[in-house]
Symmetry: C2
Subunit: 556 residues, 2 copies
């Protein structure tokens, strides 16, 4: 056995949702599994996307042997342009996953530089001391793999995202046998998806949406409009098959939907019967009862096709009374307001809107529930276990799910958060050093618009209480204030209420100036701080608010 140590280095996605990224290091060799992004929560005001801080990888760039991808969802691949703009490493993934990556790289004009290498399930890949086997798993998009990574110290299984779907619509079964084989031979460490650990039982099969959707195809008297995630290739196939069966023509609205449909079709992962597709401009000519339109924008994104359709502002589709609009998707927490606003608009047009949980379901999750997580734990029977993907509460619950395995060889589970490494050597496993991690906030999707924490903090402060800026003109010869200070303010209190207050605030500033010594007045930094402190006290007393106060001293 080796003397070197193996390090598990979570760079994102543990203790938080999204931006999944994990480095594995053996001696001086590093591989990276996934490099995702996350959509910011409302607290990151004005930020468009968030990626992991890749500092650890950049600092160790000469040791990084490659980036290995589990599947093509944004929370696993969305950070790649931001990583590859900082370092050149080969990328490995299935054909569909890489096609999704390429689309993102194109947008950032990085496609030429990247070395993308296609892999298939059951194939093996060697990167330095790591030998990686790709294992097919079922999930809400196609061509997803788990990784069995053989290292000199033993085998690591990384599940990626998965459910154990017993009846996938494409009949590509979850590869239980390979999991079982590794489990039989002995696995050092299991890294497994915790997303749905809070749900008891089994997640329903993707096939479970067919009865509800078929019912809608049969019973909708007029236009049927269905929205789903554009990467849900199985869902799209189901809708296409039902359209074919029930004699409805099909139209697609939305850029991401057209992109992914084309990718999946080109790769033979999506079958579209001849003659079924309408061009968008043919939609309103088609008899309403002979039409289904798939529209992107399940989350109420303001510029999405469905949001525009909802307010009758889409050039190709108008919703009319008696139409049926279906959200075959989940409501991502934080998006409720936007989604419900969109649904209200559709309802006001007189359409029937089908959304939310119901039985049979109109949507099923792509992540395994507690019993599927147990099934994988039992198949793999690892020596050590680290829950992936989730907040602390979920990873802690997942660790508890594994407790019974202590009877069959589990020595310890570790609940790690991003930045907390685990190290394994001949003597065992333990929490190791912490590495730099964090969230990099990007304002508008381009590579160089990183927003600093301070800016976000300012925005938050501004968003709560607005600002107040006293401006004092000081004569550069005499050092005395010229006239009354100006005060400008926004987002604080309304104009009509503010005039008296502002008058008094000006007097407060004057008082501060007058009560200061000549020495103090000579030092603008000191004066700014004094004015800020006095004014804050005054404003807080008068209004109980704490606007951002930023005195400006002008020398004139």
């Amino acid at each position: 056995m080796s003397d070197k140590k193996l390090q598990v280095i979570p760079l994102g996605g543990l203790g938080e949702f999204g931006m999944n990224c994990m480095a594995l290091r053996y001696g001086d060799d590093i591989i990276v599994v996934d490099a995702g992004m996350m959509f910011p929560d409302a607290e990151l005001l004005g930020v468009d996307i968030v990626t992991p801080d890749f500092t650890y990888l950049v600092e160790n760039r000469e040791h990084v042997r490659g980036l290995v991808l589990t599947h093509g969802h944004e929370d696993h691949i969305g950070g790649i342009p931001f990583l590859l703009s900082q370092m050149q490493i080969p990328v490995y993934g299935t054909a569909f996953t890489l096609a999704m990556v390429e689309r993102r790289l194109d947008e950032h004009k990085l496609a030429d530089k990247a070395k993308l290498n296609t892999v298939k399930p059951r194939e093996k890949l060697t990167l330095g001391p790591f030998s990686i086997e790709f294992i097919h798993v079922t999930h809400s998009t196609v061509s997803c793999v788990a990784l069995a990574i053989t290292t000199p110290l033993g085998v690591i299984i990384h599940t990626g995202d998965f459910k154990v779907d017993p009846t996938p619509t494409d009949n590509e079964l979850f590869d239980l046998h390979t999991f079982a084989e590794y489990g039989k031979r002995g696995v050092l460490l299991l890294l497994s998806d915790s997303t749905n650990v809070d749900r008891a039982g089994y997640t329903e099969s993707e096939r479970a949406v067919v009865p509800r959707l078929e019912d809608l195809f049969v019973r909708s008297p007029r236009r049927l409009v269905i929205s789903c995630f554009s990467s849900s290739i199985h869902r799209l196939q189901t809708i296409i098959d039902l359209a074919h069966k029930h004699g409805r023509k099909l139209a697609l609205l939305g850029r991401s939907l057209n992109n992914t449909t084309e990718i999946a079709h080109d790769l033979g992962l999506l079958t579209i019967p001849n003659g079924i597709l309408l061009r968008p401009q043919e939609i309103m000519q088609q008899a309403p009862s002979k039409l289904v339109t798939i529209v992107s924008g399940t989350q109420g994104e303001p510029m999405s096709a469905l949001s525009r359709v909802a307010v009758d502002n889409h050039k190709n589709l108008s919703i009319e009374a008696g139409d049926t609009v279906v959200l075959s998707s989940r409501i991502i927490p934080g998006n409720e307001k936007a989604i419900y606003r969109m649904i209200n608009h559709v309802a006001k047009r007189g359409a029937d809107v089908v959304y939310g949980s119901m039985n049979p379901p109109v949507h099923v999750s792509g992540h395994g529930s507690a019993e599927e997580l147990r099934l994988v734990l039992n198949l793999v029977r690892p020596k050590y276990f680290v829950p992936l993907h989730g907040e602390y509460r979920q990873m802690a619950k997942h660790a508890k799910l594994a407790q019974h395995l202590s009877h069959v060889g589990l020595e310890e589970s570790f609940v790690l958060e991003s930045g907390q490494t685990l190290e394994i050597d001949r003597k065992g496993a333990r929490k190791g050093e912490k590495v730099t991690v964090g969230r990099v906030c990007i304002d508008s999707g381009s590579l160089d618009e990183v927003v600093q924490d301070l800016v976000i903090r300012d925005r938050r402060h501004l968003s709560e209480d607005g600002f107040l800026i006293p401006i004092i003109a000081i004569d550069k010869n005499t050092g005395k204030a010229e006239g009354l200070p100006e005060i400008v303010s926004r987002g604080f209190i309304s104009l009509e209420e503010s005039s008296d207050l502002m008058q008094e605030a000006r007097q407060a500033v004057i008082k501060t100036l007058e009560s200061s010594s000549a020495e103090e007045r000579g030092d603008w930094g000191v004066m700014q701080e004094k004015i800020r402190a006095d004014l804050r006290r005054f404003i807080s007393k008068q209004t109980s608010r704490r606007p951002l106060i930023m005195p400006v001293i002008l020398e004139v």
Copy 2:
């Protein structure tokens, strides 16, 4: 029959959630049903509470005969201090409801001025041409009533909030018989709660939480900490009864919890066995297995008892490994982040956290599902129907639920939004004039801190892109700019990135000044607008951002 018309005037809660308030007018006489508040969504930055705009009532104050309350939840009574500070009207409600109102009035020092009149189920009250009978309904708090309001044109039934709980824990059954009686005699108009119309079937009885909670009492090896809404008197009684049965002492943490418990106990609505209550300072002395603590703060409110306990910052209770923390409550959309953050902290202390949906449930809703809504529709069999309480999508769905009643006398359902009146006379019912409604935003709960829309719009703008303020000093004698303009900016881009940009922005301002005619320069308003427009164009081109730009011209 009368010649006067009856008007239904929704002032809040139709087409939105919360701040329920409805006026009913017959000729010149007005009564008001409920005056609620809502908690603002994240889009109303920095606003603490929102009440309806009571302009219609204030303008018609001499006609308003009284305010009639259905129950004591904030979304039905929270606006009362803001209404009563603008006009004096008598208030009618059950004893518990009025006690909850009094608490709010005390906070605003209005308790002396208000005339509160206690009513009981089956009692009748006459206000001008309206004769009101109070009908007991089941809901998630105690002493809730629906209203049967007899007018010269017929009977209006207003359900308030309700579920049809077949086995309420206090055995006070939903008064089906009175609903049935009115239905038999003929009802002109039904106004009914739409909150849970999206849920199929029946809402489970309040009693359904007993098995889960009892299991937790039996199986929790150490301290049991339970959080629920403080107005859930039935839930509190269940927990108290289980504590008594299983030999655990009881402690209460949280101001609102202590308040409502005291109110309910004083009114004989909550039974607390002798000797079971511990004082907060005795909690940590009690044997962990012999203790249950009820803690307020289910929604992760930052200053609530549970949030403080979660970060081990409460003087009376520390969570330790092996303790069990239960959220017997729903997660109100919008609060997910705060609640999950709190749960993560509790999980890190090694406690088991029980929350979310499960079977048997740890929480049940207080609002009726689709079949309960149908039951009330079928009992009442109204001539006209107006769905209450919900967004448009839910009210529209509720109207559809009533369609089958067209065979037994339903003439029309009206989906109204706040401000859209309905008028009924001898000839029938139709949508009428619109009245002034809106949201009044209040910054910190006091009566006079109304925030204007403009301020909120500014805050939103500031929160997304920050601000940029060019300051130009102009010599009052020559009319020329003194030196380079200053530019101050926050929440826009970080300092290190900004220096070059700010340098160029200053030049852009100079250019604007120089390219302006003497006449333009003489008019500060014109100059401010020109500088704003040019600078906006420059900044947008350079950064794709649109900060709030506010030029300041100082005469020196």
